[in-house]
Each structure stands twice: as structure tokens, then as C-alpha cells.
Symmetry: C2
Subunit: 254 residues, 2 copies
Amino acid sequence: MLTIGQLASYAGVTVRAVRFYHQKGLLPEPERDRSGYRRYDSAAVVELIRIRTLAEAGVPLSRVRELLAADPDAFAAAVEQIDQRLQAEIRERRRHRTRIAQLAAGDSLALPPEAVAYLDRMRELGFPERMVDAERDAWILVAAQLPKSMPMYMASKRGQLEDPTLLALYRDIGTAVFEWDGDDPRLPALADRLVASIEAVYDEEVDAYAADPMSDELVALLDATFLDATPIAARMIELLQERGWRGWTKLERA
Amino acid sequence: MLTIGQLASYAGVTVRAVRFYHQKGLLPEPERDRSGYRRYDSAAVVELIRIRTLAEAGVPLSRVRELLAADPDAFAAAVEQIDQRLQAEIRERRRHRTRIAQLAAGDSLALPPEAVAYLDRMRELGFPERMVDAERDAWILVAAQLPKSMPMYMASKRGQLEDPTLLALYRDIGTAVFEWDGDDPRLPALADRLVASIEAVYDEEVDAYAADPMSDELVALLDATFLDATPIAARMIELLQERGWRGWTKLERA
DNA sequence: CTTGACCTTGACGCTGCGTCAGGGTCGTAG
DNA sequence: CTACGACCCTGACGCAGCGTCAAGGTCAAG
């Protein structure tokens, strides 16, 4: 007759695990000897090895109990289901791997590759780091809500970076955002240039964006981010409104 | 300013998760409004999305905290380590899949395929089911301790099944095990036949088994299984001893 | 004023055991 | 005979990462 320690070592599990299986009703409690020790026969080793085999195959213990008692058909069906679960877990891990592979660089935390490329292009063009950071944070918010639209947005933004007029405008907006006060006298002129560029592209862009529209909440969040980020925000929105454009993130003709 | 519910929905997590991240120090507790509600700015959304991105990539929360604060080099090293872990988990699931694939048939619970094949061959040859079951349980014990030796054991056993003399002996032992009493008068004659077959193969088999020897404990366990299983066991061991062979599972010249 | 949707803290539940704590028991060695 | 180390016993807490009540307070709309 075996003690619990011997049983456990034959089956390759810990003593604690054996007691746990007793508690869960997976393995029947054996007779006790006169000092209260559990005493097992060799059949218990076989049972325990069966339990361990299923458990090691990733079967939850609650199902192990069913499986040990199941007829061959039910057993086969259960095995099939468990295999499905394992496959799903493998797919999940694979997705995680590709995801963390993208995390190698700092920006890509929570951003798709095309957004990382866009931010890198901004850096190449000499935009200041804090402007890139602000853009990054805004795009993280968009990517979380509208991941499918990110390629479209990024293609559009990258195109704008290659237009010298727009590029100059962006640079100046960057300077204004980080260095000007809300009452800076240069703001109206900047608003004029911005309105001109909006009017040049608005009609085609609005169609592209309409396919997968931002929720009102996301628009409000991005507007709030802008207002939090710079003292010129409120004034700039006012100036745009005076010029016939309402909003910021999602501009509309007033 | 956002409530906890809005924050959570922007980041795609549950309210409970946000509070949990606060509790774990992953996300700083924000200001409260006059009624005690937490109020968040949009930067909190970005932080929360970062946390969620790492957590979804399978990073344990304790490491998420480090990672959010880590410099790029440490971050890259940590990412590498996490990737290793994911790969290991994938390999583990793959092993589990192959393992449960073997479980499709009942015997293969805890047995390698060659053992299943051996048991199937026994069935083909008309051995009674309970004898096959007894063999199966014994081999489960061996496979748990000496998995690498199973091909060798099974090759040996399968060879023996194809020898007509040994086959007849095995059938008769099976009958004796399940149907005779310990004092059956036919036992001495059966012991004579068994000894003859042992002596025919012992010297070569003993070398094969010596490469990866059974522990004394395993031998004792298998002997105990035999003694538990049939009333003829004790007498048979006696008769073998009279004929110069000690033991059962592991026979030695006395 | 009521309703229903939110917010608050606190506590327990889940898996599969690991790890004390605070005992008793066994076998062997001195 | 006693001491020692290696076992055994039960009971309880701990772990991750939240989900899910419980028992309230708050807010916006009708």
C-alpha cells in the first residue's frame, strides 16, 4: 500500500495536487490507516495518471471529472471541443506575438504600422518631438475606435505632408500650438491660411471619412484633447467659426 | 472631463478593469468631482489604451507597470522576453494538441501509440477484455516512469505475441489469472512452461532492459498490482522461486 | 418626483494549486 | 529510549485578472 507521497511521485504530481483532486472529487478518497494516513493501491496510480494526462493536455479539472466517466462517443466529442479551444489559444498567442513584435519601437505601442510610418515621416521632416507626441496620442485614440480606417487616414495625412504649402502650414500650426498664447495677434492670419487649405480639400475628404464615421463622442474627446493641449485652441476654434467652419476634429460648414 | 464609464468605453475595457488598474498602481487615480466621482482627461485614455495593448499582448500586469516606465532598450529586452514566453506557450499548446489527439481512443489515455497498438493486437488475437485492461493499467504505470523505454518494451512484447508457443502460454496465464484459485492443481505445470520460456529469452532481454532500468519502487508497485489482481499471484511467485526465479515483474535467478 | 443609468466602496468567487502554520507519526540511528 | 528527519494531517491564505453581487449615493431626463 502506498502513502500519498509515493502515489504522487509515481504519477509525477505533487502531494498538494493529489489532495486537491480529492477535494474536487476527481480522485476518490482512499481508506485511512490507523494513524489517519491515506493508503492507496496501485489502481489509484493509474487513475491519477489518467487525471494528470488530461489536465496536462489543458483540460479544465471540472471537465476532467466528466471525461473520466464519459462513454467513448461523448469522450470523442469533448476531445474535439478541447482541441478547438487549444487551437483558438494558439491563434491568440500568435496574434499577441505579431502585436508585441510591433512594440519594438516606442511609438507602435497601440498604433498600427502605417501610423508609425507617418510619425516617423514627421520626424524626418523636422517636426519637433512634442508635436509628434501630440499627434501620436491623438492617433492612438482614433486607432482604438476606428482601427479599420487607420490606413485611409494615414494615407491622407502622408499625402498632405508631401504638399509644400500644407507642410509649411503644419509647421506654423505646430509653432503656434506650443509657443503662442491665446491672444497672439498672428492667430487670425494663421486661421485664414488654415481655412484656405480646408476649403481646397474638404469636399473630397468628407466623402472618404463618411464611410466609417467617427462617433460624436470620439470627436468630442479629440476636441477636448486639443483644448487641453494648447492655449491657442479655444481662440482658433472661434476664428474658424467666424470664417464659416464649426468644430475642430470634424469640421463642418457653419 | 470623462467619467470612469466613458474612459473605459473609449479604451475598450470594463469599468472594473480600470478600477483594478488603479488599485495595482498601473493607472494613477485622477481627481474626484464634488460627488466623489473620478474625472479623467483625454491623456488618461491614451495611458489606458497603452496598458490594455500590453495586457492584451499577454504581458502580466506586474510587468506592464515596469514597461510603461522603461527606457527603449529595457523595453526592447522585455519585449523579447515576452515573445519567448509566448512562443513557449504556443509550443506547449501544440504538445497538448498532439496529446489529446491520441486520446481519441480510450486506451490511449496516458499511453503512447505503440502501447495502444500492442493492446489492439491483443484484442485481435482474442484476449479477453479484462486481460487487456489489466495489461493496459500495468503499462500506464511503466509509461509514466520510463516513457523512453516504451518503444523497446512494446517491440519485445509484440514479438512475443507472434510466437505461437508464447502466445499459447499467455492465453493460458490469462485464464489462470482470472479463473483459477491460488491452490489450483494446474498451477505447477503452468509454472514449468513459464520457466521454460523465461530461460529461453532471459539472457538477451536482461541486456535490453538494463539500459534504462526500472526503479525498485516501480518493480514493487507492479508486483503489488499483480498480487492485488489475482489469487494465483502469490502461489505463482512461490512456484517460480522453487524453480530458481525470484520476483515477478523483474525476474532474477535466485 | 420618479425612473433608470451611472457612480462609490467592499467583499467574495473563479482556477489550480503553492505555501505556510501548527500539529501528529514513522523509521532509523545513536 | 530518545532524538531526528522525513513524512503525514487539516485549515487557511495567496497568486492573476478581473466578474459579480451588495448596498448604497448621484445625475439627467421626463
